[in-house]
Symmetry: C2
Subunit: 212 residues, 2 copies
DNA sequence: CTTAGCTTGTGAATGATTTCACAAGCCCTC
DNA sequence: GAGGGCTTGTGAAATCATTCACAAGCTAAG
């Protein structure tokens, strides 16, 4: 398959969100222009994004909301559930373990881990925190595809190595440090301090950063 | 000033993090190659990024760790502190209010707000949660530059409108919905479900997404 | 059946970002 | 103070992403 830009995938996720809203509000069809409007982009961009994966609309008519939303879900791989483990049950990890936005999209938190015995055993939204030492055993048993890392920066690389070695194939890293992962493992990072710093840059150098 | 790509600003933030580590570990100078290695990019990229803002190194020698880190801090606007308010004291908002990564970079949380009276009055790392109704009054008084939104999707646009109208000039949005803000307000969004969806795409379409 | 009015899908053009490649410059040694 | 060995800073080239612009195709109306 051709290379798909990350920006395209990100927009698909956004389109899907709007399609679900449209569906809920009773609309049966939608044009690339309307979808673009909701997502803050252009109709050409919407059509181009979709064109990488096939042809989903009807000329003169637009897209069937229901069909397009199924198609995008399929493109993103959301027609099946994904199992997620969260490593680090501090403030952020605990918040994510209970975050509804994950579960509504088919991401199931099947395990939460922490090194601190004081946190082990506490329940987060139905999942008990387990000791970090059990990671390998649990990964072998539960076969989660994705690990979310909410550990301190200095521990992140070691945990990433452990979970990928144990079979996890995708990592979402909230620790403020970049990670190296072996070829074939998908990696994404969310760095909240960096986001604030980009805003600070924007405020400092008014206008140098294209707004959005 | 020329337009600076967001990707450049993001990398600068990353370089700064490494420079701080390097400084702490006693290194006095660093080359673009070493910096690139740590940040997962190329030496040419590092030099190009810096070249937008000036000339900071010595040919043959590399960069003085201390000077470069001061220079980047200045570029990003981090030589001064920034005041931040957090709106929404649910799981995510509360976690962010107590997140050390913000404070260590000079972002001071000066207020946390919630609509739910049950949460009002609770203390988060020294800051009491205040009623959302006080937003405008507090913004006028505290003059925070940045607002972090951790409210439900359906409330986010209304809160964004209120805080920007009251004088906040930058918004970091954690609600899973895109926001429209008036010209001149800096806006960034962190969508955690989207990040997982990008990983799901990567897992589903093995190799279609450049793994970075 | 034909025409009018929309909207898609997509090559081509433009714009943005990254990578290349090398002259210029600095330090250290001899 | 001349030469060797590095490393920066930066135009030019290459790559990647977005926007343009329009033929093709669908529906509804007459």
């Amino acid at each position: 398959m051709k290379h798909i830009a990350e920006s395209t995938v990100r927009r698909l996720s956004l389109y899907l969100r709007f399609l679900e809203e449209y569906e809920a509000s009773g609309h049966a069809t939608i044009s690339s222009g309307e979808l673009a409007e909701s997502g803050g982009t252009t109709s050409a961009q919407v059509r181009k994004d979709l064109s990488f994966f096939g042809s989903f609309g009807k000329r003169g008519m637009g897209y069937t909301v229901k069909d397009l939303s199924i198609a995008i879900r399929e493109i993103l791989g959301l027609q099946r559930p994904w199992s997620v483990i969260i490593v680090g049950a501090g403030k952020i990890g605990a918040a994510l373990a209970q975050y509804r936005g994950f579960t509504t999209r088919g991401f199931r938190v099947v395990g939460v881990y922490d090194r601190d015995p004081a946190r082990v055993g506490t329940k987060l939204d139905g999942v008990s925190v387990r000791p970090e030492a059990e990671l390998e055993r649990d990964i072998a048993k539960l076969k989660p595809e994705i690990a979310v890392l909410c550990v301190p920066a200095e521990a992140a690389q070691a945990i990433a190595d452990r979970v990928t070695k144990a079979g996890v194939r995708a990592v979402l890293n909230f620790a403020p440090t970049p990670l190296k992962v072996t070829e074939g493992v998908a990696m994404r990072a969310v760095n909240m301090a960096t986001e604030l710093e980009i805003l600070a840059f924007g405020l400092t150098n008014g206008g140098a950063l294209p707004v959005r």
